[in-house]
């Protein structure tokens, strides 16, 4: 496939890996520990595990798998709220495929569906709006989650619903924003990150400008990265090059789709529909200030939280679950007490085992058996 195959070329990958080894030899290991680069986005986590990229790199370089998998950071209480909404007889509850498998304290949406709740998996928010048009006698709720990549499409569904005066459609909003999340990582006393791979597709929407504070105020290098193996390797090289040259800049490896100012119409759609919440709860990370969004007052009629009584109770993760420590990079997935035993992709205890972008699910699928990568043909 065009724009995919050429960024998987093994010959070019070999050159990059060799160059990374040469480069790292020039970076003084000042702190007696590996250089830690956080890949913020779960898509990068998946690529790193799928292609065994960590194992190609020198021991002095370590990826820390960041919180950029929206399914993985969904708190249990929020899943319970979804289940309660889905179990109302008048409701058709629609969402993305990944979200239905996240365990709540009682059950997942998938289990609720098996027990008779009308839960539909959709590919896009506009598909959920089409459901509302087809079923005027039912209440269609779309469970919207994700960072700025998914926000514009949710916003557009609401803009269209309001324009057409569709009264039986609403959003249960769990969208989150990337910048406060990265800032929370930078401010965490548990973490001493040396640099970042920036989220490529979030950046198609927000651009690269919002990352300036990372280089300017926190003195950390960041390279916005694409998702093919060559993209990840090249971006890693670029971050390491900055460290070798003692530079801290915002660089863009993914310039084929990411522009400095992002996508104007998509940002305008987000601004029309959403406003910041004062705080938002994350699984494993706790509450992060201004990290979530809700619907503006003009869209109150389309807000499932206002339309239906949503309990909004926060529920602690199971004690055996160490998702929070994995999310912050304090432990590796396989170091969790229940990894691969009580917690597997088939019966996940923690949300990191649910999505293929979760560090635990990716580790389980690609690196578990041999401890070394299995590279798909």
């Amino acid at each position: 496939m065009k724009y995919v195959d050429e960024f998987r070329d093994p010959a070019r990958a070999r050159i990059l890996v060799e160059e990374i080894h040469r480069l790292v030899a020039r970076i003084p290991a000042a702190r007696g520990r590996p250089l830690q680069i956080m890949e913020v986005c779960g898509g990068h986590t998946h690529t790193i595990f799928r292609y065994g990229i960590q194992q190609m790199l020198p021991e002095e370089v370590e990826y820390v798998h960041g919180p950029g998998c929206p399914v993985c950071v969904l708190p249990m209480g929020r899943v319970d709220d979804c289940v309660a909404l889905a179990e109302r007889p008048e409701v058709i509850f629609s969402t993305f495929g990944d979200a239905v498998r996240v365990p709540g304290s009682r059950k997942s949406l998938l289990k609720a569906k098996a027990e008779g709740a009308d839960v539909r998996i959709v590919y896009a928010p506009l598909d959920a709006l089409a459901l509302a048009r087809r079923h005027p006698d039912r209440e269609v709720i779309f469970f919207g989650l994700g960072f700025e990549t998914t926000m514009p499409s949710t916003a557009m569904a609401l803009i269209q619903a309001r324009k057409a005066g569709i009264g039986n459609f609403s959003l249960f909003c769990n969208h989150i924003t990337i910048i406060p999340t990265i800032k929370a990582m930078l401010d965490s006393p548990d973490l001493q990150l040396d640099g970042f791979l920036g989220p490529g597709h979030v950046s198609t929407v927000i651009g690269t400008r919002p990352y300036d504070f990372i280089a300017r105020d926190y003195r950390r290098p960041i390279t916005v990265a694409g998702f093919e193996p060559l993209d990840v390797l090249q971006s890693t090289y670029m971050v390491l090059k900055q460290l070798a040259d003692r530079r801290c800049e915002v660089e863009n490896q993914y310039a084929r789709v990411v522009r400095r100012d992002g996508n104007g119409p998509a940002l305008a759609a987000i601004a029309e529909v959403f406003e910041l919440r004062e705080f938002f709860e994350w699984r494993g990370l706790g509450s992060i200030d201004q990290s979530g969004v809700r619907l503006r007052a003009a869209y109150a009629a389309y807000d499932a939280e206002r339309k239906f009584a949503v309990a909004n109770i926060s529920i602690a993760d199971p004690k055996s679950c160490q998702c929070g420590e994995v999310l912050k990079g304090i432990i590796k997935p396989h170091q969790c007490k229940v990894f691969g035993t009580a917690c597997t992709p088939e019966t996940p205890l923690g949300s990191l085992m649910v999505s293929s972008e979760g560090a635990c699910a990716a580790h389980y699928s690609y690196a578990r058996r041999t401890g070394s990568p299995t590279v798909p043909a």
Binding site: M1, R12, T149, P152
Partner: protein, 85 residues
Amino acid sequence: MCLGVPGQIVSLVNPEEALAMVDVGGVRRPVNVSFLLEDRPAQECVGDWVLVHAGFALTRIDAEEAARTLELLEELGEMRGEPDA
């Protein structure tokens, strides 16, 4: 979640709703292109390569930038064997 796939706009389905047919790896499906219409009308988007996410084209793929990224890799390869400065 934030996955995007490259595809090429092959025709317009409904210009008023900014709906276009996009070929993604041989599979065609309707995609909303309203986020691409800042600098040109829908009619002129046919043939464009775009990144598709959740039913929307999020951005155009810039062929020149893609080539430049690969060129940088080539240059890295050509530098090999030279002693470190």
